[in-house]
Structures are given as structure tokens and as C-alpha cells.
Assembly symmetry: D2
Homo-oligomer: 346 residues x 4
Amino acid sequence: MLIVMKQDATEAQVRAVVEVIEAMGYEARPMPGRQRTTVGLVGNDGRVDDSRLDGLGGVAEVIHVSKPYKQVSREWKAEPTRVPLPDGSMVGGREVIVMAGPCSVESEEQILTAARQVKAAGATVLRAGAFKPRSSPYAFQGLGKLGLELLAHAREETGLLIVTEAMDPAGLELVVAHADIVQIGARNMQNYSLLKECGRIRKPILLKRGLSATIPELLLSAEYILAEGNPNVILCERGIRSFDATTRNLFDLAAIAVVHGLSHLPIVADPSHGTGHRDMVPPMARAAIAAGADGLLIEVHPNPERALSDGAQSLFPEQFERTMREVAAIAEVIGRGVVTPAGIAS
Amino acid sequence: MLIVMKQDATEAQVRAVVEVIEAMGYEARPMPGRQRTTVGLVGNDGRVDDSRLDGLGGVAEVIHVSKPYKQVSREWKAEPTRVPLPDGSMVGGREVIVMAGPCSVESEEQILTAARQVKAAGATVLRAGAFKPRSSPYAFQGLGKLGLELLAHAREETGLLIVTEAMDPAGLELVVAHADIVQIGARNMQNYSLLKECGRIRKPILLKRGLSATIPELLLSAEYILAEGNPNVILCERGIRSFDATTRNLFDLAAIAVVHGLSHLPIVADPSHGTGHRDMVPPMARAAIAAGADGLLIEVHPNPERALSDGAQSLFPEQFERTMREVAAIAEVIGRGVVTPAGIAS
Amino acid sequence: MLIVMKQDATEAQVRAVVEVIEAMGYEARPMPGRQRTTVGLVGNDGRVDDSRLDGLGGVAEVIHVSKPYKQVSREWKAEPTRVPLPDGSMVGGREVIVMAGPCSVESEEQILTAARQVKAAGATVLRAGAFKPRSSPYAFQGLGKLGLELLAHAREETGLLIVTEAMDPAGLELVVAHADIVQIGARNMQNYSLLKECGRIRKPILLKRGLSATIPELLLSAEYILAEGNPNVILCERGIRSFDATTRNLFDLAAIAVVHGLSHLPIVADPSHGTGHRDMVPPMARAAIAAGADGLLIEVHPNPERALSDGAQSLFPEQFERTMREVAAIAEVIGRGVVTPAGIAS
Amino acid sequence: MLIVMKQDATEAQVRAVVEVIEAMGYEARPMPGRQRTTVGLVGNDGRVDDSRLDGLGGVAEVIHVSKPYKQVSREWKAEPTRVPLPDGSMVGGREVIVMAGPCSVESEEQILTAARQVKAAGATVLRAGAFKPRSSPYAFQGLGKLGLELLAHAREETGLLIVTEAMDPAGLELVVAHADIVQIGARNMQNYSLLKECGRIRKPILLKRGLSATIPELLLSAEYILAEGNPNVILCERGIRSFDATTRNLFDLAAIAVVHGLSHLPIVADPSHGTGHRDMVPPMARAAIAAGADGLLIEVHPNPERALSDGAQSLFPEQFERTMREVAAIAEVIGRGVVTPAGIAS
């Protein structure tokens, strides 16, 4: 950490900074420059609270040199994390994984049809919401526990794994009981109470990036889970807020390369929420794989025009099939493949 | 709601839109224009899910004419809501309210000193965190239940009311037991499970705007609380995300005028989080009152240079006093005043 | 255009809106709804100034149904525009084009070496700045006219076409005299005087998206050029402003799919400015092609560590070669190819 | 400037950084820390191009300690700049200045009426556009030279000073000949060719902040003008881009405090463009003065409902009068006043 003093800072103010640093138990190293003095804080273990220094007299700026996260960083662990799944596959290895399905579980017939369709096209994980966070209290909020049971039933029928969202501690318990991967949605990325609960279980956590979260903030939220003891975190880019309302969100594919540079955790991409428009999902799914994503999360509905939620961004089953073929070909170009369905069932 | 068809949409596609609207139980009214047809949906009660329509063939765009929120809107209730407080004052009336205090409760001495100082300067509500949401799992997370007890003690000693944050259902119960106003922080603005819990109590809720929440989204989150039965919601502008890192957040004072136009709920402003820099708090506190805010939330610390969190944005007690005088004078210019301390205690 | 009245708008206010519409020469069609009246404006030819209506009494909102741009839209011209280049190739056809080279022309040796390297790897257009817009007046501003002459010399030596930026009318004349494609930079995307000048020449214009331009604004800027008579416009996504400083800009690849949906103009992508980091250029170049970009603009420098500008985002020649191979393979996956060097020279 | 090395950077990589710094003529000072080495660059005169260093092997980040701008900074000149105007008043002194008038000059009658109205209410500068930058090529673009002549006529009639926008070098010459203050609009804030021209004249320049310009970028653009020799620059906050479309722009009032901290230049605020809605202009005008703005730029139209541009954000003359009274009272609260009309004419 580096404390930059104002040009007209007095000797006494520099001394005060040094004293606060030493009082916190670190070493202070003042460096007079041509225009101003900077004071280095040596020995930062990631627990220094910069607001102790930021407000001192004569301080112009506090600059972070160390990263605020630890266990999620590549400097802590160089080799990529591979999150193991119950069917023997993993997320973060050579092969990319595809999770697909409708926005919400709507009925037994709908979810079973969807499951069979996405499996036929090559997905190995079924995604669908039982608990739905909706900005309006009057919108469809999901089938809840019944939805989870229908998902478990779809797993039995097809052998697909299940990923679904938990929104609060009570829901988390239910999701853990029924699903294979627990999704934490964008709106809860900084719900620290929920993140800590996720750290106390062992099931893989799919952590979606918040609507206006920076990459360091996404990594810090993952750090909450690792710090509590669960190393099985899969990050997910799903679009962020921007000034341009042409698309629902701004799909930040560069985040994939950034995360791979800073962290050992795998990262998948969700082009459905990332764009909000069905026609943009296939090109953005291809682009995500070309950019190095470890997998995809795609909304597919047997009949998007009758979907109870997110119909506009759900693929028709035949669009999904075509997309899967292109995705596999692109994965091959960069020396990867696609996780293939395990022969568990159906 | 208005469904705009593409220029080359077929008659059959227009008919399909009409049929879906009628199947949902509303009236459809097609309007052929020079370049394209638009179909009006009449009778929208705020429960129409536009994704049913957005994805239909030939649809270019779905435009919302009605607002998605109801009970929080001025059209639902024209006169301003006045949220009553236990000391007989209220938020949203002619007089503006000032809530002040340290970022966190740190110790009995600290919180009592702070309470006496902000009371002496004219505040009537003491703010301080017992549960602190921090982006890093390694930062100081608050004193928890002990912090709440110290706050209750400060109330007994000074007669100030207490506002403090709840982060999850368990914490909410504790906060309700100890505080007068429950704060829901920016990161939890779309934690719908928590919002619903807030709707089931009667204590006033101070709902902070999320870091990238639009005004309609803030109002929809308030709607969650009203829809569950609690009408006592105070909104709070506290700065949003922007591309300019010069300030911690971008303090959106125009939000005050926007909210007053769209909703009957009161809105206060938090210039401390809104700017992140002590020197910018006094001008922005004045500006917020000049813009019509119903109150202020200000961080003041007996000794900011030793604060465990947010020291850089906490006012020195004497800065706060001066700010209170200016704020009172500006309130008067626009025909308002400042809520004065009730003679309950001290 | 649709004028939405407030819920409590009076009959007289609705009549006033109708009269203003008729006074502007259009047809007004009032539509009373359950909660509010809306008035349709029929016959909009794209020249209606909504501010005449927006401020009338009782008006809640003015909603645009028609697009504000005309000649650039797909509805005006359905088939894609193919911009012809002097070597017989074109931008916007089946094959993607690659424009590569250093940020700035620095010396004869540097530009000739760079030209030969990017040609050897398969690029057909040489990019390099002679006039450099720099945020600081003290930074290197380019070699100016000498830079243009060195570029022309590199064309003679290699047969590569030349694309370079013009910043003002005087510079435009020089660039037109020396280059094959005129680049208008992001900072000048709304320099309407310059855009009009571009509309009066015939050479292809590479129009870069502004740092905070929406897609409709980018298209409107292109409309300025087409409206003056030059149909040869190539759009370019090069990253936009966001709240996350982890990358230099936020590379918006979904813009490619959006533009292809709204306009017949070709669009290329610049992953060098789009990310600002050398290591992120290859994955983002691949992703851009997978997303459907009609070409790439890539910074390559013979010796990036000695570059006078943008060294951090310039590829080493061998990185560029590898990227070209991957790009070609991905183009093939989606049924496209890469424009191959014409046998003009060298 | 501080070069932060990666944790695993080699000794050779550190040496390479030191050598590049020394080759550029500065002193290098390596500082080994617990986790990583940082290298200080001492003697930075503001001309160091960080891209030479950013891309070197083993470099994690380059951090700027010195500001990139010089002459505009408070560290260069501590006392506030007061820009003198021809009527003897100045911008940046104790008194705040009010510039008001219609968006565009539309006719002799309109501009004379507007001028008399704003003068009667207490403004001393008349604002109105003769050259109008419009996103659509089909929108009203201003009366051009005739507009300037009408403005000059209004000055003769009323004694008001004139501020109006120049969009290109040719227009600048005309504006300089007719107006007292030259406005450079938001879209041209980084039109460096135009800024340099502004630096070669002596008339005051009103430089508006770009739609997505950071404060340091605004100051760097001002630096272009000062570096060419014109010290008379007035900055203007007029709203920036954000994700929330509820208002036309996001009016960043904290920018006023930030600029006053970093620079000696005066800064005024434009609540009309800052919000885009007539009803929000009075509260935001009051807030701007409370925040410390050195003046206001306000759109007022004799008949906003018939305005050719920006009618929705133009005040009615009586609204402007009331706003002037409130603004004067608030200026007094913070120890300032309002510039009063000089007795030059009419």
C-alpha cells in the first residue's frame, strides 16, 4: 500500500502517517520525490483498512498495490481449479461444459421436455429456476419447493445434473437437498450472509457477477465462500449495467480473460441474460467459447412463445442444437472440447 | 403496453400478438401506422409479463406505458407519505430530519460520545452500524448484537432515535428489537426475501438505493415492502456507480426530484457514502437540502482518524455543527425547517 | 411517435397535443386507455422534433416508435453494404478483413518492418496513426504529414492498403490524399462538421464508436455521412466506458450482432483499444470473429517494448501470426473466410 | 510514477524496467516489498508515456502518482482564477454569475424577448445557440451566422453579454467576432484541434464536460487551452451518461467540489442539460449553488411550448424569476452573492 502525500504536506503530517502505519503493526517507508512524498506500507497481509489512512491530514491518495483478495488469486494457487461434478465431469478442465434449460420450471411436462431436448443436443447440466428473483413483486416468482422436486425428477429421467438458484438461507437448504450445483444470482452477489452459508457446504457454487460489480468485487465475493471452507466455486459472467439500453445488459466477454489472468477459478458465460435477445444468443455463445470461457449457461425452452418468464431470450430447441455444433467446432479450434453426457441414465 | 411490430411483420404475426393478449385476459387494439403496425394492450393492471410478447414473431419492441409499480406511485396516492417516528416527529413532512453518527459502533465510549455530539449539533436520530457489509471477508464486520445493545444504551442516555442496518432475516429480528428505523443497505436493495420480511413488520424501513439501481427499480423494491403491508418506507439516495473513480460513488441528487415526481414516499440523502470524501460532505449536504431532500444521513465520528471503518468520509464534530447551521438556513430559504430534538431524555 | 398523457391530464391538454401535432403537419390519433390517454402521431418521416411535444402540459412521456435514422437502417436497404477497396477486396462480404499495424508511425524503418510483418501474417490493410488524438497536450501527437508520406511509401513497398485517422478538416484533406480508408476516431464520433466533410468524399470511412455512444447514436453519426452522399461507411466497435477500470474500455461484442440487426453497414472490431492489454487481444480477436464481425483492427508493433504509444496493447509479431491462424479457423466454422492479400506489389 | 512488478517477476525483468526508466532520462528507485517489488520513477515532469513501461515483461501495473495535468492544477497556482468579462464582472470571484436564454436563436423577436426577460430576472449573460450540434442530421441545426448577428443585436439592445457555441474552426472565427464567451460543447470536449484554436484566442472559453469524461479528462482538455496561451477557461458541469434513463443525463454536482479541490479554474453548472426536464431545473439550480458552483447556465424560453429545440427543459420566464430569487438567497447563506447587471446599455 502506498500513501501519496499532497504537494504541500508538512513534515509533521508525513510523520503522522508513519506513526499510524506503525501503530497498525506494519513497516512504513517514506520516499521523498521531486514533487511530493509517498509513504510505502510494507508487510500488508490484506487486512489493512485504508480508511484509517485515507482521512489523515496531508494525504492526497491511498493506492493499493497488493490485491484485496487472497485465496482466489493465481498468486495464491497457480494451477486452475477444476470443480468436480457428481457425474465425473468437471468445470475448469480442458473441456467446456454446457448448462441449458428454461428460465423457470413451469410444469412437469415442460421441464421433462426441455431436459430431453437439451440432453439430445449435448448439454450435461439442466438449468431452471424454482425460486425466481423478480424486480416486480407482482411477477411470477417460481414454483418453489415443487419446482425443485420436478427438477430432481428430471434428473432421474435423463441423468442430467441440476443447477438452480437459492435466494436465502431457507431456500439454500432446499436447493442443496435437490440440486447438484447451487446458483447465487447477480442480485445476491454481495449478500454476504448468504455467501457465508455457501462456504459452509461442499456442493459447487455457481456465483453470478452482480449487475455493477467490478472483477475485483466478484473475486472478493468468491473469497467469502473460499474463506469459509468451500473451494468449489464457478464464476459466471452474465452481463453488466451500461448506458446503452439496446441490449438488456452489456455482456462483458473480456471479463473471461481478466478472470483467467487474476484467478485460478473457472468462469462460465451466460449469453441469454448477457444479451436478453434470442437472436443474439448464438453469436455470443460462440464468442464466449472463442474468448476462453469454461462453459455456457443458456436458456432453452420447448416453446419460448409460451414461456412464463424470459421468453424473449430463450432459444428454440433447434437453435440450441445448431449453436451446440458451432460451439463444439470453435472449442476444437482453441484446443478444447465439450463435456459429453455421462451415461448415467435415460 | 404497446407492442411495436417490425416493418415487414405479416398479418398473421399481428394476429398472433392479438391472440396472446386476449389469452392473457386483456383487450388488444391494433393500430396500423404509415411504416408499421402497433398493437395496444388495454386494461394493464401491472401484472402483464412482457416476455410473453417480446419474443413473438414479428415483434420489434414492447413499450411500457403504465408504470410497473403501483402502491408507491403518486398516481395511487397523491399526498406525500409522512413516516411517523416514536419521538413524535416524522419523515416526509415540512421539516427535514438529520440522522448522524459513526459508520460503525466501536465501543461504549465511542458511541456515547458520538451520540452526544450529534445531538448537541441538532440531529435527532443516531446512525451507526452493528452489522457491516464489507466487500472483503477480512475487513471489520461490526460488533453484531453487542453493537445493538450499545445503541439502545445510547438512546436511553440521549433520547436520540436509532437507525441501523439489517443484513439477513436473523439480523432483522435483532435490529427490530433494538432500533427505531431499520436500514436496508444498497447491496441488499434487491434481496427480495429480506424485503418481504421488512414488509411484515411495522417499524419504518430506510431503503437505500442499490449501486446500479434505476429509480424505477428502487421504487419496485419499495413496492415489495408496501405489498406485504408496511407503508412506512423512507427511500435513500447514497450514490451510484459511474465510470469516474474520482469520487467513491456518483451522488445523484436529481434522483430526489425524480422520486418526488413519481412517488409519495419520502427520500433522504447520504452525502457521506455519496461522495466518500470528508471535504465533499458539507457542500453535498447543503445541495441535497436545496434539491428538496426530506432529510440527511451523515457520518460523524468523534475522532475520524481513528475510525475502524469509513474514517475518510466521516466529519469531525465541528464540521458537522457548521454543516447543520448551513443546512438549517437553506431549508428555510425553500420554506422548510429542521426537525428539532424532542425533549425525551438526556 | 406516441405521446403518453398523465393520468390526470385534462381534455384540454389532450386537445392541445392534437393541435400541435396537426400544426406540424402530421395526423393525431388519440387513444383513451383504462388509466390514461395516449396520442399517436401518424406519418412520422423522421423529422419530428419531440421537444415540441415533450414539454406540453399534461404530457407524461414521448415514446419513439420509428427509428431516428433512415438510410443506414436495414428497413431502408435490406441487403448488406459491401464497401469496395482499391485492391478489389471489400468489407462486408463473406470474407473478414484484417487491418493491422502499430499505433503510430514512428520512423521509416519501423513502419516498413511492421508492414512486412503484418503482410506476412495475412493482413491486407496497414493501420498506423500520423495524427494522434491524445488526452494530454504533452503526449506524442504523431508525425503528421511526414507520417502520411511514410505510410504511402509502405503501401508502395508492400501493396497493403492504408487506413489512418483524420482529426479535422485540414487533416482530412491530407489523409484523403495519402490513404485508402479514412478513420474517424472515437472522440470525434459526434464532430458533426467533420462527419459532413466525410460525406462529401468517396473514400471509405471507418467510423469508430464513441466512448459513451449508444448504438443508435453511432448509426446516427453514420447517417450524417450517408446523408451527405458517401455510402462507404465501415463501423467499428472499440470498447466503451464502464465503471470497471480493470480493462481500459469495455469491449462490447454484442454491438456487432445489434448493428447487423439494425443496419446494412459492415462493422469491424478493434480488440486492442477494446481491452488495452496485449494478453487479452488474441482471445477477444477470436471472439469478435465468432460473434460475426466483418473484420478486425489490431495493433502490432515490431518491438512493443519500445513503442512511442500504446505499447502495452500492441501484439508481438509472432502473437499476431498465431492469432491470424486461429481467426481464420473460426471464420471457417461460421462459413466465412479471411480476405487474402492481393498480388499488387512487393 | 510507480511500476508494480508481478509477484513472480524475475530480477532481470526488474532490471529491464530500471533501464527503460533511465533511458527515458528519469531516476529509477526499486523498492522490494514483502510480496512484490515496486519501482519508483522519480523526476516525472508530466511527459512520461506510461505505455513504454506498461507492456514490459513482469510488470503488473503502472500507477500514476503525479497528476497528468499541470497548469490547470491548484498545485501549480493556488489562488482561484477569476475570468474577467467585458462588463467588468468576473467568473470565479465571490459572486456567482447567471447565463440564461433559449436553446437556439430562432428569430429576432424571440431572442430580444428572451433577452429582456432574463435581464429583468437578474441574468447578466445571454445564452443561445447559433450553431447547434444535433445527433440527427435531420434536426434543426441553428440559424448560423444570422443567429450570431441577432445575438449581437440583442447585446446592443440589453447590455447583456453573449455566450454561444462554436463547433469547428470556421465557426470559431465567427463566434469570436460576435460573442463575449465562446462555448465548446460536450461532444467537442476532446476535439483537440478545436481546443488548440481556442488556446490561441483571448476571449473566455466555456468548456463543457463531455458525456463520459472523467474530471481528470476535463482538466486535461482545459490544459490544451492553457498550454496554447489562453488562461481564461470556465469549466461547466452539464450531466454525464449513466445507466438510468429516467433523466436525460446524470447531473454530477459533486464534480463542483472535486474541481474546486483539484483546480484553480472556475466551474459553472447547467441544470437544463443536466436533467432534461423543466420541473427539475429549479431544484437542481438551487443545489448547484449550494454545492459551490461559480455560476449557472439555464435555458429559458419566452414560450417553451413553441421552442424549436429543447422545449421540454426550458423554463417559463416566471419560473426563472422565482429560481433567481431562491438562488440569490442560497448564495447568501454560503457567503456569496449574484453578479448584478452592469449599467452598460438599455
